[in-house]
């Protein structure tokens, strides 16, 4: 049989889905590997004869067709693409697509270049699974360059995968193999891609097609029509800004932006959330009102100031019509005590008396005061720093498994269990864990000062408002509850089966949530030793947790491989929102006190704001150096965000949506965005953010940047009076 060009027989645009089992070479191995050079033709003849004799006409036809497709080399061996390159076939296939995408029209480039990452991963995994470790490694080192920025963690996890069994065991590889990577392309872009793959069928197009069918979930949209944030204009802008960031619906979870509905035919409609503050108990409200009345009469407000009762009424009245409040029945709490009344009263007072921080008005950010508490002689053993709500206690968790608590006002930390004659100092050690302590959380408390005398601080908090409990979590997989009255361990919570990374008390106390390397977050109540809810769904370690201010939702952030921020409902135990967009491990999450925006930060130095109601990204803020942002905090008015991290700085951010975004939203509501030259250029003028000469430059919404002296900032948060308190360890 002579060499002949393969006729384009396939009519469908997709490749065979049958090929590609584990460890076996995929797709169309030629029928026979005959030993002799000339015998191949004979063999075919023999088989064909046999088939026609037996009457297997369809099999015969198929064989004829397939053998027609096969090219033969000089010795008469059939040569397919796969055979020609052996271990390099995935490399070749990937290179073909990559070169094509690099040279394609600018209009398709931004979106089509997003497809390269999943293709790269799969090509690499397939090469390894086909038992070509050398080629796999070569391909990996050759082609990893473009992804170094965005996917460095995934690359590190994959870099030493060399054997088929590693593919079986590697988390990332399994994640990509067992899930479909979702990607949104415009209709035209996708069609062009498929057409290209068809023309290159013999040169690897088939392999790529196979990957797209099996491991990718490509959604097509008409970008010109939808406009807005997913529109083409936006894409072009991002390309101009050189900003490489995944779209909000791209990635493994495969969901509509924000939506937590993971079924493939989800419509994208979002659950309604109950974001309003939790209503107060009726009894508590009456008590608080009575107390405030008493306070007003004994301490009449200065002229021009509202009375506390008025302030309280105003506080309750603020009830936007579009938010429903969670019901107290769905989340039961123990009945309120005198302590709760005192705390509520104090909250109302603080509401009236605090220094208000308004947003960025007239281009000038608000001046924020920061108190830095620096720990010395730590020898880098401090893992976390935490301050109590009333700012009287500071606690650090150390790598040496103990917790140390200081009183910030030099009060002696006495315990009724002290032996007689014992002189309590202003610091205590809590010993109990058998592994590094990774997070601490104080139960809610309020600083109830003596009658305020115009800023002259004398913080003689009445004793009943002090925090009474503290939670700690550790690598020994336990969570411990400590009493701050006796300074002893009260409860050990065991259920996690990997190190526990984070633990947080509910803003109203009683409940707490923990997150662990076992990929779950768990909800507990202090009196019970078994978790009430297990929040499972993350594809990697749950690195951090945070509460919604009304206590009805929690947020979790995950690390390598997953990198999502998820919102869970306490009452239902289900996911309410999924946010994708981070490119590094999510290290810190904080929800705004108004309950509508959540901020999350990753170790690439990016902070993202998410709108809870729409489930969409509000904006991306950069400026922190790499190494991780370890703490986020909101001002009480939700107008300003403060962050602290490994780059030894405390930064203050403006959270108002940037002008471009606003304009974009307007555009979305108005006429359909035009997709023509001038419009694109016009839009592209906007934000030009990115790296300047290798140095990270900050976005314009950074209000201030306070550097510390060689002290990484472990925690930074606003107090109830809008002063920032930051904690760090001095590491000379």
């Amino acid at each position: 049989m002579a060499v002949q060009p393969p006729p384009p027989l396939r009519t469908e645009s997709v490749g065979p889905a049958s090929a590609g089992g584990m460890g076996t070479p995929t797709a169309g191995t030629p029928v026979g590997q005959a030993p002799g050079a000339g015998s191949n033709q004979n063999l075919n003849q023999i088989v064909l004869e046999y088939l026609s004799k037996k009457g297997y006409s369809r099999t015969e036809a198929m064989l004829r067709r397939e053998s027609g497709n096969i090219a033969f080399d000089a010795t008469g061996q059939p040569v397919t693409f796969d055979d020609k390159f052996k271990g390099r076939r995935w490399h070749e296939a990937y290179s073909v697509v990559k070169t094509w995408i690099d040279s394609i029209l600018d209009i398709y480039k931004p979106e089509l270049s997003r497809i390269l990452w999943p293709l790269f991963v799969h090509c690499f995994i397939e090469t390894i699974a086909d038992c070509f470790p050398g080629e796999g490694r070569f391909f990996f080192t050759e082609c990893r360059k473009p992804f170094d920025d965005e996917h460095s963690d995934d690359l590190r996890a994959l870099s030493n995968v060399q054997e088929p069994e590693h593919v079986q065991q590697n988390d990332i590889a399994q994640l990509y193999r067992t899930n479909k990577y979702r990607l949104t392309l415009s209709k035209m872009g996708f069609a062009t891609l498929i057409e290209f793959l068809k023309t290159k069928e013999g040169e690897g197009g088939k392999s790529i097609n196979f990957l797209i069918n099996n491991h990718l979930d490509i959604r097509t949209v008409d970008r010109a029509a939808i406009g807005g944030v997913r529109g083409l204009q936006k894409l072009m802008e991002e390309k101009q800004g050189d900003e490489q960031a995944p779209a909000e619906d791209e990635g493994i979870p495969g969901h509509h932006p924000g939506s937590a509905n993971l079924s493939p035919d989800a419509t994208g409609a979002l659950h309604r959330l109950q974001l309003a503050p939790m209503p107060m108990e009726i009894d508590l409200m009456d008590d608080v009102k009575a107390e405030l009345n008493h306070e007003d009469s004994s301490n009449p407000p200065r002229p021009g100031r509202s009375t506390l009762v008025e302030q309280f009424e105003q506080r309750i009245k603020v009830e936007p019509s579009d938010d429903t409040a969670p019901s107290r029945d769905s989340i039961p709490f123990p009945p309120s005590t005198a302590r709760d009344v005192a705390m509520e009263v104090q909250k109302v007072k603080e509401d009236r008396d605090r220094f208000r921080i308004e947003g960025k008005t007239g281009g000038v950010g608000p001046g924020v005061s920061v108190t830095m508490i620096t720990f010395h002689n730590t020898f880098d053993t401090v893992n976390c720093v935490e301050f109590s709500d009333d700012n009287t206690l500071a606690a650090v968790g150390t790598a040496e498994s103990y917790i140390r608590v200081w009183s910030l006002d030099n009060r002696a930390l006495a315990s009724p269990q002290d032996p007689p004659g014992f002189q309590p100092s202003s610091s205590r050690r809590l010993v109990g864990h058998s592994g590094p302590v990774y997070a601490l959380s104080f139960s809610p408390s309020a600083a109830v000062p003596a009658p305020p005398t115009n800023g002259h601080t004398d913080h003689q908090s009445s004793p009943d408002s002090h925090p009474r409990y503290m939670l700690s979590c550790s690598a020994d997989t336990t969570i411990r509850l400590w009493s701050l009255d006796t300074w002893t361990n009260l409860v050990v919570y065991r259920s996690h089966n990997s190190p526990v990374w984070d633990v947080r008390f509910c803003p109203h106390g009683h409940y707490f949530v923990s997150s662990s390397a076992d990929r779950t977050a768990r909800l507990w109540s202090t009196p019970q030793i078994a978790p009430l809810r297990i929040f499972a769904g993350h594809d990697s370690d749950v690195e951090t947790v945070a509460w919604h201010p009304n206590g009805a939702y929690v947020f979790t952030g995950a690390g390598v491989g997953d990198k999502t921020v998820r919102m869970w409902s306490i009452a239902q135990g289900t996911q309410a929102r999924i946010f994708t967009g981070h490119t590094g491990n999510v290290n810190a999450i904080a929800c705004a006190p108004n309950g509508h925006v959540v901020a999350s930060a990753d170790d690439k130095g990016v902070i993202i704001l998410w709108d809870l109601r729409t489930g969409r990204l509000v904006k991306r803020m950069r400026g922190h150096g790499p190494g991780g942002i370890w703490s986020l905090g909101w001002s009480v008015e939700s107008s300003v965000l403060v962050s602290g991290g490994a780059d030894c700085s405390v930064r203050v951010w403006d959270v108002q949506p940037s002008k471009e975004t606003q304009a974009k939203v307007n555009g979305e509501n108005g006429a359909v965005a035009k997709v023509d030259g001038p419009a694109i250029n016009g839009g592209a003028v906007a934000s030009k953010v990115g790296k300047v000469k290798g140095r990270e430059q900050s976005t314009a919404d950074m209000i201030s940047d306070f550097k510390t002296k060689k002290s990484p900032v472990y925690t930074a948060r606003f107090t109830n009076m809008n002063l920032v308190v930051a904690g760090g360890a001095y590491l000379p």
């Binding site: 060399q162 001046g367 203050v652 976005t699 314009a700």
Partner: protein, 449 residues
Amino acid sequence: MSVWNPENVTDVAESIGIASLNRDVVEHLARDVEYRMSQVLNEALKFMRHGKRTTLTTQDVSQALRLLDVEPLYGYESTRPLRFGEASIGPGQPLFYVEDEEVDFEKLINAPLPKVPREMSYTAHWLAVEGVQPSIPQNPLTDPRSAELAAKGSSANSTLAAVSGNDNIAVKPLVKHILSKELQLYFERICGAILDESNEEYRSAAFASLRTDTGLHQLIPYFIQFVADKVTHNLKNIFVLTQTMQLLAALLDNQSLFLAPYVPGNVPSILTCLIGKHLGNPALDGATTHFALRDYSASLLSKTACQYGPSSSTLKPRIARSCLKHFLDSHKPFGTHYGAVLGLAMIAGAQGVRTLILPNLKAYDLHLQEGMKDDGGKREQAEYVKQAILRALQTLQEDAVMEMSSNGHPAGEALRERLGAVGEVVGARVFESGREGLIGAVLERDPVV
């Protein structure tokens, strides 16, 4: 092919008695070892990240091994990074090993115990005050280059950049925030008034205004600066010193001012007036006028410390330390000692007198006696110090638990001798006073700490 040398695998195989391994198997194993190691490292990195560190420690690796259900390696726990020695076993084939020091057992046992590592502690400072970073030693020097970058980054925020001094140097205003004409005028008038020796009325009006006016916050740094200036340049002028102290007192009295951030700037001036070497001109004002100033400064200092001590935990210890230092320095004149004793008694209270003054009295006695013998002006001064010490001791009496253990003290000469423990001069006075409580308090040699 792999980074992990397949030779190693062969070596290990031979060491456990497998003589010949297939080449393919060796390579396969080498690749597997490499993968496993990277897996352990990846897990260990997680622990490093959560420990908020940038160096990987052996502990992280042990934790990672535990997480992967592998028995951790023992014997590598170390708080400092391991040192690796390098040995060459052939050209281009370095061999690394952990350096194990040989320790002489005898020597190790007999060696003095190493120093106890310093205790973990914390300090607090202002990282920023209303959006501006104060230039105090705790904050880093502003690197002009980074300032430039930051200013570019927050381009929309030029006003704030200007305020913090990151603006273009050429147009940097001397006054960083704008003072209204009225405030400037007010400041000038007040400063003039309080230094006006001739007009008593004028002065008191100025102080009254400082005590009560509400809108003075912007002027505080200027007043502090003014006081510091005057104090440093007018050490010979008792009048100016007294007036500046009164100015500070007036500010402290003002209910609408929040002085906490400025206290560290305040304290040196007050301390100067309290324990300065030579205050005032003895020829002009008389030799003892400065004691009145010291008295006044001491009360001012104690008021400051009471008001702001709770918000700055290091304030009181710092003041007490410098007072004690001056008290113990016998080369300083009696005036300084007088101030130091006053300061200690006021800042640290009875507890401080007991632990800081009482044990040092014996040593101080020598100096005091010398002074008493001198016929010149020194005698008078020493007398003042004696009075101050006695006053300090009286606080002890008030503080002492009034249980009156009357089984206690011998009478007459024996008591006098025992009182010698606080020095002859003071002891004699205590004895003469004949007050049971005072004697009891002084003799109570059991500092309750």
